[in-house]
């Protein structure tokens, strides 16, 4: 234990969550100006709020790969969005050091009406990669995705697997330090599954930090050193992947 804490002292923390809590009001659909005004003057009615996250505490060191597991509705996505700064925690604190990107699904930021090439530029710019860098890697990105023949094609004509490939191929050139992935790439064939695995294998030794919400236990086991288990917004465990997964699997039988 003492050895471990000594090593922790020298660690640079990429993500620190201290007592993070996130409440949501159960909102009705259809926001209207009238309702917005009454909210403004009467304050929000907190009585029907529920906790999406409560008392979450964990630290991720720079370069560490962490999986988030849990059943649907456990709060995985909410946690990623809180870390990303898209949701403010209602209590507690999130601290992050380094450029972050959040990938929820491969196609966020892609536009059907544009060509695959145009989409590559747009998509990369959303995740902070400038035009020049995309130009330099343009050929390589399409080759890796095996979509050289489709650069000029409208994105709408590409299958969802092909789009995921393009997105993933672009992702390899994103230079953020913290990657928050939400079940991002699951719609691909076996052949590309290999390519993905190879990419993650290479990332294992990089100093990029990954926080990945996943249902793929094999992936978590091979790629992530630590795992955070959430259940109904509560933190069940945060420890070495094998141990956490053992408990998580046991709880599901």
């Amino acid at each position: 234990m003492s050895q471990r804490s000594a090593s922790i002292c020298n660690t640079i923390w990429a993500i620190k969550a201290i007592g993070v809590e996130r409440k949501f009001a159960r909102r009705r659909p259809h926001d209207t100006a009238f309702r917005a005004l009454t909210h403004l003057f009467n304050g929000h009615n907190d009585s029907n709020a529920f906790f999406a996250l409560k008392d979450i505490n964990f630290k991720v060191a720079k370069g560490e790969k962490v999986a988030i597991v849990g059943d649907n509705g456990a709060g995985k996505t909410t946690l990623l969005k809180v870390v990303a700064g898209l949701y403010r925690p209602t209590a507690g604190e999130i601290r992050t050091t380094g450029e972050m990107i959040l990938l929820r699904g491969a196609e966020i930021g892609m536009v059907d009406e544009l060509s695959a090439a145009e989409n590559l530029f747009l998509y990369s710019s959303i995740y902070g990669v400038d035009r020049e860098k995309v130009k330099v890697n343009f050929q390589e990105i399409f080759e890796w995705a095996e979509l050289e023949a489709f650069t000029g094609a409208r994105l709408a004509t590409l299958s969802s697997g092909m789009r995921a490939r393009l997105a993933f191929s672009a992702l390899r050139h994103f230079d953020a330090e913290i990657f928050l992935l939400d079940e991002a790439f699951s719609t691909v064939d076996m052949h590309f599954q290999r390519k993905y695995e190879k990419f993650f294998e290479e990332q294992k030794s990089s100093d990029k930090t990954f926080l990945i919400a996943t249902h793929d236990m094999d992936f978590a086991r091979t790629f992530c050193t630590k795992t955070l288990w959430l259940n109904k917004g509560r933190q069940m465990a945060f420890d070495a992947t094998d141990e956490v997964l053992k408990d998580y699997m046991a709880s599901n039988t």
């Binding site: 929820r104 966020i108 009406e113 530029f121 400038d130």
Partner: protein
Amino acid sequence: MLKLVFIAMSKKKYLNLLHQLAITQFKLKDQSAFLGFVWSFLNPLIMLVILFAMFRYRTGQSIEHYGIYLLIGLVQYTHFSNSTRRSMTVLYSMKQLTADAIFPKEVLVLSAVMADAIEFVFSMVVCVVIALVSGIALSWALLLLPFVWVLQFFLVSSVSLILSCLYVFARDLGHIYQAFLRLLIFITPIFYDSSFLGKGLGNYILFLNPLTHLINFSRTLIIDRNPLPLRSSMALLLMTAILLFCSFKLFKSYEPTFSEHL
């Protein structure tokens, strides 16, 4: 120092994104840039024909070059109304980006404004060309026209930032704003001269409407071929800059809650 470098670098990243998004929205608006421009010019042109036929011998009687006078007013009003209307919904129509991507969301709104600004500048240039063809002489005053565009850009950006932010919380704002725009066409001196409303309340409303001044500035430059009055143009620049700053602050204060409301 290091922090400054970092800020400059991250700004460059967002400039790249702004550029990329503006191009995208420009392309998305119409399948071809040229045809898109023709269509967007068609609307003020139809209005021009109708208003010209109706008011030429009424409110337009004492106005020189009434056709050009109308055209300038219509082009500037149309740009203002179209651009603010489109930008208002951009956070919602691109809600995946608003809710799930990490970047300052004013970039989305400003890119929508910029996509329309390109068209606006083209339209104004066409106005000038038509003015020249119809016999108004070329003058140095035209060189000041970009100043008016900057003011218009500031104004449209401010209104768009406020509206897009509110639209996240109140979806029926679209209808309310549509009604306001209908009203605006009558409280802006498009087909009548500012003096038409007399000295009463109407005059004050016109005076408080920034679009009045912007349109009159363009008319001064294009039709009257006079330079802009220095004091009022500086005052307007200051006012639109302050408005832009305030709307930006408002937008930033609500930005952290966008994701949960979409």
